[in-house]
Amino acid sequence: MTEENKAGLEGEAYWLDDPANFDRMMYALYALCAVFLLLDLLMEHDRLFGFYAWFGLIASIGFVLAAKVLRLLLMRPEDYYD
């Protein structure tokens, strides 16, 4: 067992606890986004370039913002019905 694994089992240092690793994951996500956006060029279609990508981005941000507004109206303390 390597040092790193042992530390992991003891609950001290986990791979994700290191901010540098987290950043690496984010870069991987950006890279994947770019790759799949560019793959759009290989498809023959008459949609807007990267339609699904823009749709995914905009629709989900709009969704979260709308839900936040809704939360203001709907949220009650946990013991509301008790």
């Binding site: 996500l29 995914g56 941000i61 979260v64 936040k68 949220m75």
Partner: protein
């Protein structure tokens, strides 16, 4: 193999026996019954109707056709997984309830007439409420009662519809119907309540999260999927279902996003997935109905898997609230892995089960030209990471580490989750496995370059949005809270009206009493004034005066007499 016997009988008999068995014997039985049931099911002669003649009605307990067979098969498979998941549990009530629920659902999916359908369905319903009550808290008791109220109403609608249909057409056969009479409307609404149509939906998110750890995945696997089966058989191609489904796919998303209880998040998300299936049924035709059924099958697997993983967390930490959890991947790495497979499946990442089933519904909706509905479904498909796919793993296993440390889930739970996760992957990687079971010939190909790339674009950019929103602190944080839903009407408004009415009545009766008292007092006062010790009638008059008056009177009479 027994001729003409629905495999449901195995499960129901097992459920009835359960309280009298030693726990070890019961455990073996729970694992053996699904296997025996499946052998029985596939050994049956498709022509055998298992017909019974009861109180003048011809009941068909067996109808072996492709549509019923898909559901009966997946119900058997999932009941094995769920039995494995619950194997460590010592509460025999829960085991009995689980077996009866599975038996009822299997029986209903094979029923050939509406009365048999009703009877088996009610067995499943009444058994499943004990999975909520087994929690043995006041909250669970109330939630179970509300669940029963809705389910009872749905059962009543179904039964009265069946009786009306019998009197109209003289037949109880459960086949394709049209919304043209009171009878079919009544049946449709009965299915609708059980399927959690918008505004009739709240029993689902209200009751399921109050069930026990092992009970919640059981509830989520059978009842609503049975409603999907019933609607697919009875009302496929019904235009109304497209609208209902589209609303249902979008409306619960918002609730799932802002909800704190992760099991409730999954119930809202279940409600939203049912919307996808309804759109498929409503569009009608081979591809769309196949898609709806395929999605029901994959949903049973991945929704069950997600509920099982959150259940494992609940078993170990005592809470399923996002506000209590976080960072559990350190303590429960296996559960985390299985949850991620479930999350990837429901999000419809390529190679996972949701991709091959949801794609069919979306393709069929686009083909049918319902663009608005397609857009609504795409909106739900884009948002799924935010309200389930990323939310559940993020809040339970990653995210803010709140210092909760616990043991990994028990071995039997891990095995059950592993089995469900394996099936999700298997179907995702080799879709013909699923497509081969579907009632219609499938010409749909999931893995085209276009489908994979567009779906990845949708999900990756949605993931980008998720990362951005979480990092900027815009994503709704986990707060101890409840959100108002339609249950507010019967949990707050109705009781408030009741209390107001009671107050009004007290007021009214109080006023009446006071008015009566006042009248009585006035009356007595008058009596007192007349008859009291100082009253006119009680005044004592001296004898001499009386004599004088008598004399005067006599004198008067005398005078009058002589005059």
């Amino acid at each position: 193999m027994i001729d003409g016997l629905t495999p449901a009988v195995f499960f129901i008999a097992g459920g009835l026996l359960a309280p009298f068995l030693h726990i070890h014997a019961l455990r073996i039985l729970m694992l053996a019954l699904p296997v025996a049931g499946l052998v029985q099911l596939y050994g049956l002669d498709p022509a055998d109707a298992g017909a019974y003649h009861l109180v003048g009605l011809d009941l068909i307990t067996l109808r072996i056709d492709a549509l019923g067979l898909v559901f009966a098969t997946i119900f058997h498979i999932v009941s094995f997984i769920l039995a494995l998941y619950a194997l460590h549990e010592r509460d025999r009530l829960q085991h009995a309830a689980m077996l009866m629920t599975a038996g009822g659902a299997i029986g209903a999916s094979l029923a050939g007439d509406l009365i048999t359908l009703f009877l088996f369905w009610e067995v499943a319903t009444f058994a499943s409420v004990f999975l909520i009550w087994a929690q043995r808290t006041e909250r669970a008791c109330g939630a179970g009662m509300r669940f029963l109220l809705f389910q009872g109403a749905a059962g009543l609608l179904l039964l009265s519809g069946a009786v009306l249909l019998l009197s109209e057409t003289g037949s109880l056969a459960f086949s394709h119907m049209r919304l043209e009479s009171l009878a079919t409307w009544s049946i449709f609404l009965g299915f609708g309540v059980k399927c959690a149509f918008p505004l009739l939906h709240n029993w689902l998110a209200d009751a399921y999260p109050e069930a026990t750890v092992t009970g919640a995945p059981v509830l989520a696997s059978f009842s609503t999927k049975l409603a999907i089966y019933a609607l697919a058989r009875g009302f496929s191609g019904e235009e109304l279902l497209i609208t209902i489904g589209a609303v249902m796919a979008v409306f619960p998303m918002f609730y799932a996003l802002i909800e704190n209880d992760l099991r409730r998040v999954l119930c809202y998300s279940l409600n939203n997935q049912l919307g996808f299936m309804l759109v498929g049924i409503g569009v009608g035709g081979a591809l769309a109905v196949n898609g709806a059924i395929a999605h029901a099958v994959t949903n049973i697997l991945f929704k069950g898997l997600l509920l099982m993983s959150v259940g494992a967390v609940m078993l170990r930490t005592g809470s399923a609230r996002a506000s209590d959890l976080g960072g559990l991947y350190k303590s429960m790495p296996w559960t985390t892995g299985f949850c991620l497979v479930g999350a990837a499946s429901i999000s419809a990442f390529p190679l996972f089960a949701g991709f091959v089933s949801k794609g069919m519904i979306l393709a069929a909706t686009a083909e049918s030209g319902h663009w608005l509905v397609w857009l609504a479904l795409m909106f739900a498909a884009a948002g799924i990471l935010h309200y389930t796919g990323a939310k559940i793993p993020y809040f339970a296993f990653f995210g803010q580490d709140r210092g909760v440390r616990c043991q990994e889930a028990p071995g039997n739970m891990l095995a059950a989750m592993g089995l469900a996760a394996g099936l999700c992957l298997l179907i995702g990687i080799y879709p013909p496995l699923l497509y081969g079971m579907l009632p219609y010939e499938v010409e749909f190909v999931s893995y085209t370059f276009d489908h994979v790339v567009t779906q990845m674009q949708l999900l990756l950019f949605s993931a980008l949005a998720f990362a951005f929103l979480v990092r900027k602190g815009i994503y709704p944080s986990a707060l101890r809270s409840v959100n108002l839903d339609t249950d507010w009407f019967y949990r707050r408004l109705l009781p408030a009206i009741g209390r107001y009415g009671e107050r009004l009545l007290t007021h009214l009766t109080g006023g009446l009493r006071r008015a009566g008292e006042m009248l009585m007092r006035q009356g007595f006062r008058l009596l007192y004034r007349v008859h009291g010790p100082r009253g006119v009638l009680a005044r004592t008059v001296p004898g001499s005066v009386t004599m004088l008056w008598v004399l005067v009177l006599l004198a008067g009479v005398l005078v009058l007499y002589y005059v």
